[in-house]
């Protein structure tokens, strides 16, 4: 069981990363380098999601099979989105 202190630090980090994501737009990176900004912003969302799943949902402490279960769902989404998206490129 993670301590309240750790939960608080994670909360602070999540808030900071969210602010950073919005800041990337405010400083004009999207206009200047759209795809770099895109990768950064989505990448930061992935980091946040993994953090919430790992610590707040305690995925780190569960058997690995729980992670695989979630990844299976995610893989399905990726297959659908990538397949459908590529089909109209």
């Amino acid at each position: 069981m993670t301590s309240i202190r750790t939960y608080t630090i994670i909360f602070g980090a999540l808030m900071a990363v969210s602010t950073t994501q919005a800041a990337l737009e405010f400083v004009g990176l999207l206009e200047a380098q759209y795809w770099i900004a895109f990768a950064l912003i989505i990448g930061l969302s992935v980091v946040k999601a993994v953090t919430v799943a790992g610590w707040y949902m305690h995925m780190r402490e569960e058997p690995r099979a729980i992670t695989y279960l979630a990844l299976a769902g995610l893989l399905g989404v990726v297959a659908l989105t990538a397949g459908a998206g590529y089909s109209v490129l």
Partner: protein, 915 residues
């Protein structure tokens, strides 16, 4: 004896009595038993009988189709009538007969085969059944609303949109769509239940790889169901949105010019192709069991058979576009999909060879179940080979939309049904304790096999008849595909007439079965454990029918073969009690077995039917109101049921009291919008039906939450690979797995349409459609709020583990406030966008995807808030934080809440920063 009972729905409620309030099961002769039962064997029988009812329903529709095609011109049906009947026939057979029949068998057999007393969540199992039944009845009701859905079972866009549906069919079409959505709710609950059961409740010593093949086929089926049906649910939700909010062509999702109709085919077939295997896998499991029994030996290559099935289950999610070769998808993706499609036929070859080789190596006994299974294999081989034709792009260009497809899929789907019929005969003695009449069984087989081929084979001959046409050209002579060679100079009509005769023979053969099964029930051909000379699975080791508790002792495979340990030795075995949402009680372990009863699954499913019917005719301007008016009722219900269950406290009084001003507030807003009483007087009857449905639905939800219901989890069970994860927690994770697909399909639809429109062109399109300004900061503020609410939920859990009432109730309350602020902020944002800027639901693809995806998320937030109210009320009276509870329920709720948070973490960049 261990009495470590934790309460996934609330506190121990010792004061309400020693045994569960639901009471014992009434006898089988009592109607009440079948309405309140949660026992897996009873639910299995209910599933099978209901599925046979829908088989007859769908079969009668098939007769009408075949009668219509008796001649080439107009005959017994109107054009719209034919379209409705073709659609309903397909939907009923695929959704309401095939899978549920297999699930009837699975309900009955899987716990027996794996050595479990029941499924992990018996009450949810009953709810799966009732939702299934009522969803089917809603489809039946749709015929009486003017006309049912006339689109074909694939519901292709744009024909599935109001603009292309005759006005008379508008209500019935939406009812049918909602009926499908309810069916998916049933399927998802069932999948969660089976997955949890099979991973966590196997008898001691029973490894995953050793569970009987029928159960393995069901396990793979439910995994596919979990993911595939979530994609269809997403498609149906988007389609309902198009029906309710976006009537005009060119708006909404599937009428959109940005690949709307193509999007439907992607979503539908991402579900639809796995669905083929979802329907067929249980039949494959039956085939394996029956071939083993009647060949008198273990399946040859059993391990490879299982690997092949698993491969197919995975591959089934990457072949869906072979149903779309004639759409606008590009050639490279078609080629990739052709390869994956040919690839998926290979594991099937292995499975068929394993079955055949088992027969060759064994000593075949030609009993009725075996005949049906052998017949089914023959038919499936024909269906499989003709399907490979359709997997080749060039051939598919010619075959698509013809009777070749109709013949092919009936040879595969209906061959699955033939195998399931073999399963009926195989397990009939186990379920009833009586032997069927062997001679009549064989007569049934001959009639069915002849009728089947007479029905479907002529369709290959007249393959170039256009599919789904109510009139065909009867004078054209059928040709060999890709040649100008005519085999027969007869014209189409005679072949269709042959098929019609075949349909009646095939249909009639089932009357023989019904007669046989019914009469045998009253015969004196009593069977003991097993009527078969060779069996390998645990259900044959107990009496027929099996005893109420399934086994004479605790089953164990620890020694390498099945044995029963005395209950006295193992009864200490209730380590934890999963309550699927209800209040657990500490009871004597030997009392905690299988005779729980509950009215609420039936009641709640009935309210779902009422609500579904109501929504089908709910006017757009009234849409939100039944849901809003139900919220005060929900709050009051918590106060009332909470006071009854946990004793009256001030908080219960506050809940009851708060419901009135809340209702007054909503009434005031309604008055400003529509006027009271004028607005109420003008509301159509569907408004009132919806209001009754949602209000009583939330009432039953609260009642179920407070109901005392307790299921023991045995300690002596194999739980790989989920050791240490409680049943309820695993159930929640599995549910979240399907929710990932649901949200993923919504987000995927957005990405698809945005790619189609030109990714960076999106904002410009939105501006063309009326958007003036879409700032980032409301999204950022909501990100802060949701992250904060996630933080307070983990705090609530931490406080509950420390035994702090104040901390638990306080942190949950702050979470609720955070969620309220989130919704308030969203409301302000939507008012600005929707009303001030005039950027509405149907203002183009950017608007539709924005409102619907973030709206689905908001709906999840609202559901979470309703659950939170319940949790706060329970925590206030001692639940979750008191001794021995350890906050489990808060942890399970937290999983849901954090998941909703994670989804937002992606919606925020996609719909705000990168918009």
């Amino acid at each position: 004896m261990t009495e470590d009972v934790h309460t996934n729905g609330g506190t121990d409620s010792h004061e309400t009595g020693g045994h569960d309030d639901g009471g014992h099961l009434p006898p089988k002769s009592s109607v009440k038993r079948w309405l309140v039962t949660t026992n897996h064997k009873d639910v299995g029988i209910l599933y099978m009988i209901t599925a046979l009812f829908f088989l007859v329903f769908g079969g009668i529709l098939a007769f009408m189709i075949r009668m219509q095609l008796w001649q080439s011109g107009p005959f017994i049906l109107t054009d719209l009538g034919y379209n409705q009947i073709v659609t309903a026939h397909g939907l009923l057979m695929v959704f309401w007969f095939l899978s549920p029949f297999a699930f009837g068998l699975a309900n009955y057999l899987v716990p027996l085969q794996i050595g479990a007393d029941d499924l992990a969540f018996p009450r949810l199992n009953a709810m799966s059944y009732w939702l299934y039944l009522f969803s089917g009845l809603l489809l039946a009701i749709s015929f009486f609303q003017g006309s049912s859905l006339p689109t074909g079972w694939t519901l292709y866009a744009p024909l599935n949109l109001p603009a292309f549906i005759p006005p008379v069919a508008e209500l019935g079409s939406l009812s049918a769509i909602i009926a499908l959505a309810l069916f998916i709710a049933s399927v998802t609950i069932g999948s969660v239940n089976f997955i949890t059961t099979m991973y966590r409740m196997r008898a001691e010593g029973l490894r995953m790889r050793d569970i009987p093949l029928f159960s393995i086929s069901i396990l793979l089926t439910v995994w596919m169901m979990l993911f595939a049906f979530a994609a269809l649910l997403a498609a149906l939700m988007l389609l309902s949105f198009d029906h309710i909010f976006a009537g005009e062509v060119g708006t909404g999702y599937f009428g959109s010019e940005e690949g709307g109709s193509l999007l439907w085919t992607h979503l539908f077939w991402f579900f639809g192709h796995p669905e083929v295997y979802i329907v067929f896998f249980p039949a494959l499991g039956v085939m394996a069991e029956v071939v083993q029994t009647f060949s008198g030996r273990r399946l040859v290559g059993r391990k490879w058979f299982i690997i092949a099935m698993a491969l197919v289950a995975i591959q089934s999610f990457i072949v869906w576009m072979h149903h779309m070769f004639l759409t606008a998808i590009n050639l490279p993706i078609k080629t990739v999909i052709m390869v994956t499609t040919i690839g998926i036929s290979l594991p099937f070859d292995l499975m068929v060879f394993a079955l055949i080789y088992t027969m060759i190596k064994g000593q075949v006994r030609w009993k009725t179940p075996f005949l049906f299974v052998l017949g089914s294999i023959v038919l499936f081989i024909i269906g499989g080979i003709t399907g490979v034709f359709l997997g080749a792009i060039v051939l598919d260009y010619s075959f698509r939309g013809t009777y070749w497809v109709v013949a092919h899929f009936h040879y595969t789907m209906a061959s699955g049904a033939v195998a399931l019929v073999g399963g009926i005969y195989y397990w009939y003695p186990k379920i009833t304790g009586k032997m069927y009449n062997e001679f009549l069984g064989k007569v049934h087989f001959v009639a069915a096999f002849v009728g089947f081929n007479l029905l479907y084979f002529p369709m290959f001959v007249v393959w170039d008849t256009p599919r789904r046409w109510f009139h065909y050209n009867g004078t054209v002579a059928p040709e060999i595909p890709f040649t100008n060679i005519t085999l027969f100079e007869t014209g189409f009509t005679i072949w269709h007439q042959m098929a019609t005769v075949g349909a009646f023979v095939f249909g009639f053969s089932f009357l023989i079965m019904f007669y046989n099964l019914f009469v045998s029930l009253y015969s004196d051909r009593v069977v003991d454990e097993s009527p078969w000379a060779y069996t390998g699975s645990a259900e044959w080791a107990v009496s027929s029918p099996p005893p109420e508790g399934n086994f004479p002792g605790t089953p164990s495979f620890a020694t390498g073969k099945l044995s029963f340990l005395s209950r006295a030795e193992t009864d200490g075995g209730t380590e934890t009690a999963a309550t699927d949402g209800g209040v657990a009680q500490a009871t004597e372990a030997h009392e905690q077995h299988v005779d729980h009863t509950s009215w609420w699954p039936l009641a709640m499913s009935l309210t779902a039917l009422i609500l579904g019917l109501g929504i089908s005719g709910l006017e757009t301007s009234y849409f939100i109101w039944p849901f809003l008016f139900a919220i005060p009722a929900f709050v009051a219900f918590i106060g009332i049921f909470g006071a009854r269950s946990d004793g009256y406290t001030h908080l219960h009084g506050a809940f009851m009291g708060a419901s009135m001003p809340l209702l007054a507030l909503f009434a005031l807003v309604f008055h400003l919008h529509h006027g009271i009483p004028g607005g109420l007087a003008e509301a159509n009857q569907y408004f009132w039906i919806s209001l009754i449905g949602i209000t009583s639905g939330l009432g039953t939800l609260v009642a179920m939450g407070y109901e005392s219901f307790n299921v023991p989890t045995p300690t002596m069970s194999e739980q790989w690979p989920f050791e240490g994860v409680s049943n309820t927690k695993l159930g929640m994770w599995v549910f979240l797995g399907s929710d990932i697909i649901l949200f993923g399909a919504f987000i995927g639809s957005y990405i698809f349409m945005r790619i189609r429109a030109g990714w960076t062109n999106w904002h410009h399109i939105a501006e063309l459609n009326g958007l003036e300004h879409h700032p980032v900061w409301p999204g950022l503020l909501n990100t802060y709020l949701l992250l904060a609410s996630s933080f307070t939920v983990v705090l609530a859990l931490a406080y509950a583990k420390r035994g702090s009432k104040r901390g638990t109730v306080g942190a949950l309350s702050v979470t609720f406030i955070g969620a309220t602020l989130f919704l308030a902020n969203k409301g302000i944002e939507w008012v600005d966008l929707y009303i001030r800027q005039g950027w509405q639901f149907d203002s183009g693809p950017a608007a539709s995807t924005f409102y619907l995806t973030t709206g689905l998320h908001a709906a999840h937030v609202v559901v979470g808030m309703l659950i939170m109210l319940f949790l706060i009320a329970r925590a206030y009276t001692g639940a979750y934080w008191s001794e021995g509870e350890n906050g489990h329920t808060i942890e399970y709720f937290g999983l849901y809440w954090h998941f909703v948070d994670i989804v937002w973490l992606f919606l925020f960049p996609l719909f705000y920063i990168l918009f």
